[in-house]
């Protein structure tokens, strides 16, 4: 009897030896004359358990992890191919509380299917949204997305449907859909997991966006730090074209939409949408002044939808289930779900998709399991390198765009990076300035020069100079905030000042 065994090909699983585990399983099965069929799925998102090996049994998939190649003989001895018990066994995968308590909407297929298997994609609900969209008028597609309340997941949280409406209304001989897959924020990996674990979902979302606004060409701008995602996505594009899902005649509709993959080259600021467009055009990633909006004058000067991977990947199911179903999830003006990413010093780091409104504390402790080091958690940075550091007094803030803005923070792309009590918040503030100096596009003086000054001022904030330098630092932050063209310079004060305001003891004179 052939047993199906799943070992993720997600790069987080690979980083912990998933390929070696596969080799060991193949070797051990051959030696024991057992036949296994290996499926390389995406990751379930329980990253501390990677490589998470799943075995298909009569009662569903059961999980073992974290498995190393050295564990494999013992797993065979324990009869894991029949779901046998072992110290690494976790029972049915979908009953593991971390997974069971989530609401998987955008990430519904990630970890479940073979990411490149076209038939599996369709069997698990893929293409339903695109088929519906093909039968709708462009304006009706746009209004469905407006009704869903979906907001941009790349950082700024702008309503996706409203952006699409602008592009639909623009007159042009060519329009584009540009997917922002630059995912530069530390602590984030949901775009990567989706592209590696369910790449057709992104392509379907882009095709629907194309139909909605009248664009026939799509570009994905992928960061070069993601070679595994590059391979998955380029293979998925080729297969989707060959299957007629992309190309001149999408699903036999007579309508055209194609997708091209372009690689970034190691620049954080190229995640800013206009810098990304410059980069796609083959130029330095220097931020453009707005207006004109990219929706009107975007890629190669044409009207362009720019959306994050998570934004576009939410669209197929929004079309399939209807905008109202999505809008029923979440709180206030933060509709739907967000795949949160738990990172840094947490015992159970991984991806947790939940409707907006859960508190940070729930994510840190109920899901994250507290610190990995066993020491008390002290500071949490939410929303990437331009996000605030939150002290414990703010951990009961519900994760929604407005509630976070109210405490001076940002949800951003949903990255949550936890630090234990060994963190030196002066060093974190200094790093925020240093990062701004390294990544500034150079267009505005405060960002280009002020960030380097910021590093120096923080270094000098000691002894008798301390208070005078603090005043200088605050001044500098005000200048950055008010005189920067984009959020790189404009938001760098958030991590710096939140560190200073909430963790002043780390900025003592001596």
């Amino acid at each position: 009897m052939t047993v199906t065994v799943y070992v993720p090909r997600d790069s987080a699983a690979l980083s912990m030896g998933a390929d070696e585990v596969v080799d060991a399983i193949v070797k051990e099965a051959a030696a024991r004359k057992q036949t296994v069929q290996l499926v390389r799925n995406g990751s379930r998102g329980m990253l501390w358990l990677e490589p998470l090996v799943e075995v298909q049994t009569d009662t569903g998939r059961v999980a073992y992890g974290p498995v190393t190649a050295a564990d494999v003989p013992a797993l065979f001895d324990a009869g894991f191919l029949n779901g046998g018990d072992h110290s690494l066994a976790h029972g049915p995968t979908e009953q593991i509380p971390y997974f069971a308590k989530q609401q998987r909407f955008t990430m519904c297929r990630v970890g479940v299917t073979d990411p490149l298997d076209l038939a599996a994609y369709e069997a698990h609900g893929g293409l339903e949204g695109l088929r519906k969209a093909l039968a709708m008028a462009p304006a009706a597609i746009v209004e469905e997305v407006v009704a869903s309340g979906l907001r941009g997941r790349g950082g700024a949280g702008f309503p996706a449907g409203i952006k699409w409406r602008t592009v639909l209304g623009a007159q042009a001989d060519q329009k584009y859909v540009a997917c922002n897959a630059d995912e530069g924020d530390s602590g984030t990996f949901s775009d990567r997991m989706l592209m590696e674990g369910d790449p057709y979902c992104l392509l379907e979302g882009m095709a629907i966006a194309g139909l909605a606004v009248g664009a026939t060409q799509g570009y994905v701008y992928l960061r070069s730090e993601y070679p595994d995602a590059q391979l998955m996505l380029s293979t998925a594009i080729a297969r989707a074209r060959a299957a007629g899902w992309l190309g001149d005649d999408v699903l036999g509709s007579g309508k055209a939409f194609d997708v091209h993959l372009r690689m970034g080259a190691g620049s954080y600021v190229c995640g800013e949408e206009t810098a990304m467009l410059e980069s796609l055009e083959g130029k330095r990633g220097v931020v453009r002044a707005k207006p004109p909006l990219p929706a009107l004058v975007g890629l190669f000067g044409k009207p362009t939808v720019v959306n994050n991977v998570m934004t576009l990947a939410a669209v197929p199911r929004i079309l399939a289930d209807g905008g109202a179903a999505y809008a029923a999830l979440g709180v206030g003006r933060s509709k739907g779900t967000l795949p949160f990413q738990l990172a840094g010093n947490l015992k159970h780091g991984g991806l947790v998709e939940l409707p907006f409104g859960a508190t940070l504390r729930t994510l840190l402790f109920e899901f994250g399991g507290g610190s990995a080091s066993g020491r008390p958690l002290r500071a949490v940075q939410v929303g990437g390198p331009l996000g605030s550091y939150l002290p414990e007094s703010q951990w009961d803030t519900p994760l929604d765009y407005e509630a976070f803005a109210a405490v001076g923070g940002l949800v951003g792309h949903g990255g949550i990076v936890a630090f234990d009590d060994t963190v030196d918040m002066r060093a974190q503030a200094r790093y925020a300035m240093e990062f701004c100096a390294v990544e500034s596009c150079g267009k505005c003086t405060p960002c280009r020069i002020g960030s380097t000054r910021g590093v120096e001022v923080i270094d000098k904030m000691r002894g008798k100079e301390r208070d005078r330098q603090e005043a200088l630092l605050r001044d500098l932050c005000t200048t950055l905030k008010d005189a920067s063209l984009c959020a790189m310079g404009g938001l760098t004060p958030l991590p710096v000042l939140s560190a200073l305001d909430h963790f002043a003891e780390d900025f003592a004179a001596d």
Partner: protein, 174 residues
């Protein structure tokens, strides 16, 4: 902030380099926004973008040599000198900081003699570069060695990875 220094005086391309550059240009020049794809292709083939390649690339794309130079120097990925046999990128972003990447950085510096995570060892075997997030932040600290990501990297694990890489021949993707 990327530097705007004028390019070092460019030597001539050797025949193999010249062939790689021409092949990349011919294959990719008709793409919209072809410059980055061409630079990536050249670096994938040669490990770096020789300054002498700026001129033929500029000519093919109807750009000035300064345009190409400006793009090459803007992006952290593009190298203007050949890398070592293996390339190690060490993540220094926040999630890795939270799990002690500073110690890992110091270990790399001590072991390789490469200061500030930027440079190539004297024997030409290893190039070290900083990187700002590899998307492996739940399994930090992370490094990328010859294009492959590794998570939960302790100094001891790093030594083992480097030793294994040196035993194997040439590195893979970088």
């Amino acid at each position: 902030m990327p530097s705007d220094a004028p390019s070092a005086h460019a030597g001539a391309l050797d025949p193999a380099q010249s062939a790689a550059v021409s092949a990349a240009i011919e294959r990719l020049r008709d793409l919209p926004g072809a410059l980055l794809p061409i630079l990536h292709a050249v670096q994938a083939e040669l490990g770096f973008v020789p300054p002498a390649a700026h001129e033929p690339i500029a000519a093919a794309l109807n750009l000035s040599r300064a345009d190409v130079h400006g793009v090459v120097t803007f992006y952290h990925d593009f190298r203007s000198a050949p890398p070592g046999e293996h390339v190690l990128k060490v993540c220094r972003a926040e999630a890795c900081q939270a799990m002690g990447c500073a110690q890992l950085e110091r270990h790399v510096e001590q072991r390789t003699g490469v200061a500030k995570l930027h440079g190539t060892t004297a024997d030409g075997k290893l190039t070290v570069e900083p990187v700002y997030c590899l998307g492996n932040c739940a399994l930090s600290p992370s490094v990328q060695l010859d294009g492959r990501v590794f998570g939960r990297v302790t100094p001891a694990r790093l030594d083992a990875l480097l030793a294994a890489a040196q035993r194997g021949a040439k590195g893979g993707r970088s």
